[in-house]
């Protein structure tokens, strides 16, 4: 009885020697990945397309069972989507027949029913307001721009008050400027909620800017090449992007990724 409680305080996620081969194929997506994630930390997986980082995230979300190894959350092995986890994908995946606020309330509605969703109207409005979508509560997704749709997806993720956020290239489809602004918002959301955040990205600056720890991954089968601890002051601002230390960390991650693919500098 002591071990789950003991790990509770120090480890949110424990990924223990996880490998995954897609059933019916011999495609190895992941190989011997092990790491611990502390509560309240912000970590990123970065690597080329097809390096298994999304597979790893799906395993952490309980959407996929790895063929080998174990993913544990708060000391308990994950089978099926765990409570207290919010997820975001590269596409906003809003339901076009629902208004923004109806989309935001979807997780509550599916969990506790329509009446519970109605009780959360004010909470939903408050979240929508914080991400700057006030006035768009009754707009349909077809009326929103790409950035606005992702903001709505953020609201939908936050409505259940998760303490773990799993983000699969959430801003990968947005333009550079919008992405930088969304990254700032994501940082303030994560810190104000003391949430543990796992970000999958293929943008090195984004990974460095947001993370406490960056895991550089190899091409298929995905392995962790290097762990880079980013020691930049928080909160990070647009000015952080211009700091020499920021450039240094970006360089470190890039070198790690290149070395892993046999490219020497």
């Amino acid at each position: 009885m002591n071990s789950p409680n003991a790990t509770e305080s120090t480890v949110r996620y424990r990924i223990d020697d996880v490998s995954h081969t897609f059933p019916g194929t011999d495609i190895e997506a992941l190989k011997n990945v092990s790491l611990d994630i502390e509560p309240g930390s912000f970590i990123s997986f970065i690597g080329p397309s097809g390096c298994g980082k999304s597979t790893l995230l799906n395993a952490m979300a309980g959407l996929l069972e790895p063929s080998h190894g174990e993913v544990m959350m708060n000391g308990i092995s994950i089978d099926g989507p765990p409570d207290g986890v919010g997820i975001m994908f590269q596409k906003a995946t809003l339901l076009p027949w629902r208004t923004t606020i109806e989309n935001v309330l979807l997780p509550i509605e599916l969990r506790d029913g329509v009446r519970a969703a109605k009780d959360h109207l004010d909470a939903a409005k408050a979240i929508i307001y914080t991400v700057g979508l006030a006035g768009f509560e009754n707009a349909y997704p077809g009326e929103l721009s790409g950035g606005m749709a992702q903001r709505a997806a953020i609201c939908r993720m936050l409505i259940t008050q998760p303490n773990v956020l799993l983000l699969d290239e959430p801003f990968g489809a947005l333009d550079e400027l919008t992405r930088e602004r969304m990254d700032l918002e994501l940082q303030s959301i994560a810190s104000s909620r003391h949430a543990t955040v796992v970000l999958v990205t293929h943008s090195i600056p984004e990974a460095v800017f947001l993370s406490d720890t960056v895991y550089a991954m190899s091409a298929r089968p995905g392995r962790i090449l290097e762990v880079i601890t980013v020691d930049l002051p928080r909160p990070r601002t647009m000015n952080t992007l211009n700091m020499p230390e920021f450039a240094k960390y970006v360089g470190l991650v890039r070198t790690a990724l290149n070395r892993g693919h046999g490219i020497n500098e």
Partner: protein, 300 residues
């Protein structure tokens, strides 16, 4: 002389003529749609009238639009409440509505089964798609033989003609949900019923309505065909009777009324579709239940 100057010479030589042609074409293109349609119809009718009048075509071969117009007035008077054609039209409408209704209910259930089971997708769906491509109307005598000359065979043929688009629309629509959406619902631990009702069913609706729009017209075709062959009742019987006594002006007038019925039925389905799947139309911000019109400008 360089090539460019040659081509410019040609275009400038052709320019007075080309300008006139382009001017006329631009004038036609700029017409409002209603007027453009009217222009085409008037042109066709005038041509038709001219051919009949100056070509000495007998009325039993091809009545002129004016003949048809006169007959149409008679038909309309017979369509007035209590008129004998009104009763026949009502019979045909009933056949279409009941046949279509059967096709919608049965087609949806079969579509669910075909679309949601592996066996249905593998073994049944290809057969239905193949059947949809056959001239189903050829089965009409079979249904008359099975269900007799009464109204039952009309319902059945109308249903048979219209069921396949419903089945195919339902089955195809239910697998149109994206992987991302399924993953989203799974991550939110959605119950199977919610995945079906709040996701798959909504995604299927545009496909189902595409099927329904084909089906309603097919049901009308089926009902009329059954009346032709099975005889005795309905608007189709009236057309058959008129043609046997070579009253082609009446045949045309009746066909006009029937066409109008088809258009009305189709428009009804299209109207329901716009209400139900407003989010599927490109300009749904305007159709979107009239909510938040002020957002029109902000959107993109």
């Amino acid at each position: 002389m360089s090539e460019t100057s040659v081509s410019s010479k040609i275009s400038s030589a052709a320019s007075p003529m080309a300008k006139v042609v382009m001017g006329i074409s631009r004038w036609f293109n700029s017409l409002p749609q209603a007027i453009a349609v009217a222009v085409v119809i008037l042109t066709v009718l005038t041509g038709w009238e001219a051919i009949v009048r100056f070509g000495d075509v007998p009325i039993i071969i091809l009545p002129s639009p004016l003949n048809v117009g006169e007959e149409l007035l008679i038909v309309i008077s017979q369509l007035a409440p209590g008129g004998f054609l009104a009763g026949e039209l009502w019979i045909t409408i009933q056949e279409v509505i009941i046949g279509f209704g059967i096709a919608v209910v049965a087609g949806f259930i079969i579509g669910l089964w075909v679309g949601q089971t592996k066996f249905g997708q593998k073994a049944i769906m290809p057969l239905f798609v193949a059947l949809e491509a056959t001239p189903k109307i050829a089965f009409a005598p079979v249904f008359i033989a099975w269900f007799g000359f009464g109204i039952t065979s009309k319902y059945v043929l109308a249903a048979f003609m219209s069921i396949f688009p419903v089945i195919i629309g339902t089955a195809a629509g239910l697998v149109a949900t994206s992987e991302d959406e399924l993953k989203l619902f799974k991550s939110m631990k959605a119950k199977a019923w919610d995945v079906f009702w709040k996701l798959k069913m909504r995604r299927a609706l545009p496909f189902i309505f595409a099927g329904l729009k084909i089906a309603i017209v097919a049901a009308l075709t089926g009902a009329i065909a059954a009346e032709f062959i099975g005889g005795g009742i309905g608007f189709g019987e009236q057309i058959r009777l008129a043609s046997t006594r070579l009253a082609l002006d009446r045949v045309f007038a009746l066909i006009l009324v029937l066409s109008l019925l088809g258009i009305v039925l189709f428009s009804l389905v299209a109207w329901v579709q716009r209400r139900v799947t407003f989010w599927d139309t490109p300009n749904h911000r305007i159709a979107g239940k009239g909510k938040k019109k002020n957002l029109l400008v902000v959107g993109r």
